[in-house]
């Protein structure tokens, strides 16, 4: 519906929400927020055409800082709710956003299955490798040995690799970003939104308050851009291999993309008639009669 309106072109600031972020000064999430606002503006979206769905966490406060529609749901449930939004109205641009704990911890099952279904959602994870909002416990993305309030003697568990698991779960667009590299992140997010299918952007978004290991410096010293490495995003093996690098070099950019997998919404025959949210509810006389007849 919205494509026919002729509103003036919008700027990133038009995507600013009603309230200002309450993140700690220096929090990585600011970088991602900026990139999202810019990306939406540059892609010519209108605020009412976009729904940003989040879970709970510092990062999950993001929808409140956008002028789009939003849902700030339960911890871990962003992707499930976002799936419902997309199913009800596939004309909307649906973004899911949240933290590493939210997405890879408690929300891990929705992450795997939403990827498998290839629902056309752009999933932005502000990965600070810590539970920020609950004041600093270990996350499934924390490194081995990391000392947090719940692991004062060091973490014993190997961290999740969001990129490789997303690829193996069937995500059709998988990328990494860094909130310290705004321009690159912007371009990555734009590609992710434009991708028709489930896209993950795992964004290193330093928690300046609770994670003193994975700082801006940590990433600045290591990050290399896949685009500059001649990486071929159709090569899942190379993508996985590159995603496993960590200690010396860490790659950002588009790891993997497959444009040929149909999305669930594209395949669902009921949606051929348009978004179900727009279809008039209830049964026609013909439908009713057909149903009743089967019972007799």
């Amino acid at each position: 519906m919205a494509t026919t309106t002729t509103l003036p072109e919008l700027k990133a600031k038009d995507f600013k929400g009603k309230s200002d972020p309450d993140w700690c000064p220096g929090c990585g999430d600011f970088g991602l927020l900026n990139s999202v606002q810019k990306a939406l503006a540059e892609l010519g979206k209108k605020p009412h055409e976009v729904v940003c769905v989040s879970g709970i966490g510092c990062s999950s406060n993001l929808p409140g800082y956008l002028s789009t529609y939003g849902m700030h749901t339960l911890h871990g449930r962003a992707l499930a709710v976002a799936t419902g939004v997309k199913f009800a109205n596939h004309e909307l641009t649906v973004i899911a956003a949240g933290g590493d704990g939210d997405g890879y911890g408690i929300g891990g099952n929705h992450f795997a299955h939403t990827a498998r279904r290839n629902v056309d959602i752009t999933y932005l994870v502000m990965n600070n490798q810590i539970y920020g909002l609950t004041t600093g416990q270990v996350s499934p993305a924390s490194e081995i040995g990391m000392k947090t309030k719940s692991t004062p003697f060091g973490n014993l568990e190997r961290p999740v690799n969001a990129v490789t698991t997303a690829i193996m779960n069937g995500a059709t667009f998988v990328a990494r970003g860094f909130s310290g590299h705004g321009k690159h992140l912007l371009s990555t997010i734009k590609q992710a939104i434009e991708h028709n299918g489930f896209s993950l952007v795992d964004v290193f978004s330093p928690c300046v308050t609770f994670n003193h290991d994975n700082t801006y410096d940590f990433f600045r010293q290591r990050i290399k851009k896949l685009e500059e490495e001649g990486h071929d995003p159709s090569d899942w093996k190379s993508a996985c291999e590159k995603a496993m690098a960590w200690d010396d070099e860490i790659f950002t950019g588009v790891y993997y993309q497959d444009k040929d997998v149909p999305t669930l919404n594209d395949q669902e025959p009921v949606l051929e008639a348009g978004p179900i949210a727009h279809q008039s509810p209830g049964l026609t006389t013909e439908q009713s009669e057909r149903i009743l007849k089967r019972m007799m």
Partner: protein, 597 residues
């Protein structure tokens, strides 16, 4: 139930012996003749083997229970014969394969033994299941039905498998029919025929159809017995109705996907049983906080935990009441039978849209997997759909506030996609704009205002739904109180009690939350003796009733062995409560379950 025709028969055997097909054929025959029926299938949670006992009761009037008597049994294995021969009333009959099954000694008097030489009768067929068709012929002969009726039914049932299969079945049925004609005595009363043909459905069909009629555009589920039938109906019929159906990875996903779709404007329903419902509870609280209308169905089965998946219970009432943390607005309702379930779903969608809150519909295995006859004209497939205060057209926002504090507590709801009205729906406490008061700032006065705004919404609820009313003689000696699925069996028990000279009336409660405390208290205060009938151990409804009204009652009849009440269980309980109370402990009478499946 009526003084007219009342006939109940059962088909018993193991899973995999093909009990469903003859059951379906017979049900079709009955409803096409305008007869009412109720079928209860007692079975185990296994795919092959075990024991299944399908009881079908036919009546000239509406019946909601399989009743107290069995007139005929078709025993497909020895186990059925041994367990159930004794349940056939005098004048009844038992049909069985005399090649492999020995009649049980333990029988009531004057029960006709209809042994069939199946090997001989089916010697030319290689399909083991044709013996069921032979038996069908026998049954219909005994019930005094013309063979042509069966022929027509078999043709309908099997025509998609080709003429050969039809012919074989008709042929086999004929043999049984003729064999019975020659060897057995038909029942004195022949199966009547009434003018208006009826239809047949299960409670799960009714719930699904209620959703379709109410304008559900999205049905989402994870399979769980006894709610899976709703998914099956939807999966089969949805596409042609423009309804999207999805199965999700788990019930948490289901509930949250539902919330997303409902927020985006699609009427949305999901269903599960107790264990899956436990997983949905967090989301129910979230839907209420974000003020999103969704209907959650919990089809109760015998608990706790995995419990007895194929058995019934009214054991999730407190789970529904306690679903999710904190105080929040929601509607809870327990319909009484299939048709009521259909109507309730329709009504519920208008209510949740009006009040912008979730609802919980409590069904149980008895309703959901029970097979009911229904007058198709009683099913309103095109009811009024009222979506409440919804903004679906873009335009200037005029300072739109999603959670505006209004006198009614209801704030017009803009659907995502509508220009000029964007907002965030949050699960945190928020202000009128949806901005968190928990993170941005904390203001106890605003918090209080928002709690009260939401709570105000339901203050008009009693104007919208029907209050429970007393049924039966005002001067009754006993008032039987129940909720949900016990309504029919209580009604039937009342008739039996009346025959015994005991005047009984009944109060059937359907709307659980908000609760009609005044209406119910008013009725109970006038009652002479009150007895609550419920299908659980701890008296969940009793305790809830007391929490809302402060009213205690005089007695209880409870059952928690997995099987539903039969009318005589209630009759026994009432007589005992009125008599020497020797079966009553701490005010509770627990009936003995005779039929063991």
């Amino acid at each position: 139930m009526s003084n007219g025709y009342d006939f109940a028969f059962a088909i018993g055997g193991a899973a995999g012996q093909g009990i469903a097909t003859p059951g379906n054929i017979l049900a079709r025959i009955f409803v096409r003749r305008g007869l009412h029926l109720y079928a209860y299938n007692a079975f185990q949670s296994i795919i092959r083997g075990g024991h299944i006992f399908l009881t079908i009761r036919v009546n000239t009037e509406l019946v909601d229970t399989h009743g107290d008597h069995l007139h005929l049994i078709l025993a497909l294995n020895q186990d059925t014969m041994t367990r159930h021969a004794k349940h056939v009333v005098p004048g009844g009959a038992i049909i069985y394969n005399s090649d492999s099954i020995t009649p049980a000694e333990d029988r009531q008097e004057a029960v006709q033994l209809c042994g069939l030489p199946i090997k001989e009768l089916t010697s030319d067929s290689r399909n083991k299941l044709v013996q069921n068709t032979v038996s069908l012929g026998v049954m219909l002969n005994l019930m005094g039905v013309d063979f042509s009726v069966l022929e027509e039914a078999l043709t309908l049932q099997f025509k998609h498998k080709g003429q050969e299969v039809v012919d074989e079945n008709v042929n086999m049925a004929r043999r049984g029919y003729d064999y019975a004609q020659a060897n057995f005595t038909a029942f004195p009363a022949a199966l009547p025929e009434q003018e208006k043909p009826l239809a047949v459905w299960t409670g799960n069909d009714a719930i699904a159809m209620g959703g379709a009629a109410a304008g559900v555009k999205f049905y989402v589920a994870y399979p769980m017995s006894p709610a899976t039938g709703i998914l099956h109906w939807m999966a089969k019929n949805a596409r042609e109705c423009g309804i999207m159906v999805r199965q999700i990875e788990d019930e948490i996903g289901v509930a949250n996907v539902a919330i997303g779709a409902a927020q985006t404007g699609a009427r949305t329903m999901c269903a599960t049983s107790g264990g899956g419902f436990a997983l949905m509870t967090e989301a129910i609280g979230a839907a209420s906080m974000m003020e999103i209308p969704v209907v959650f169905v919990d089809v109760q089965r015998a608990g706790p935990s995995t419990g007895v998946p194929t058995k019934t219970e009214q054991g999730d009432l407190w789970q529904a009441l306690g679903a999710s943390q904190g105080d929040f607005e929601r509607i809870i309702v327990a319909p009484k039978d299939a048709l009521d379930a259909f109507d309730t779903v329709v009504e519920l969608f208008n209510l949740v849209d009006h009040y912008q809150c979730p609802a919980i519909l409590l069904s149980d295995l008895l309703i959901s997997e029970g097979t009911f006859s229904v007058d198709p004209d009683a099913i309103n497939m095109q009811p009024t759909i009222d979506r409440g205060e919804m903004i679906t057209e873009g335009g200037p926002s005029n300072g739109y506030q999603r959670y505006k504090i209004t006198e009614s507590g209801i704030s017009p709801r803009a659907i995502p996609g509508v220009a000029g009205h964007a907002y965030v729906a949050p699960t945190d406490e928020h202000d009128e704009d949806g901005i968190l008061i928990s993170d941005e700032f904390t203001n106890p006065h605003k918090r209080r205002e928002m709690v009260e705004k939401r709570a105000r919404k339901l203050s008009t609820f009693f104007d919208k739904v029907q209050a429970p009313a007393l049924e039966g003689p005002e001067d009754a000696e006993v008032t039987l109180v129940g909720f949900g699925s016990t309504e029919g069996v209580i009604r039937e028990a009342r008739k039996s009690l009346e025959e015994k000279g005991v005047k009984v009336n009944q109060l059937a409660v359907k709307w659980i939350l908000p609760f009609h405390a005044e209406a119910v208290s008013g009725i109970l205060n006038k009652s002479k003796k009150t007895v609550i009938v419920e299908n659980n151990y701890s008296g969940q409804f009793h305790r809830f009733l007391r929490s809302e009204t402060g009213r205690s009652v005089d007695g209880h009849i409870r059952k928690y062995d997995g099987e539903p009440f039969q009318p005589h269980h209630i009759v026994d309980g009432v007589m005992d409560h009125l008599g020497d109370k020797k079966g009553v402990t701490d005010g509770v009478f627990i009936p003995f379950q005779e039929i063991l499946v």
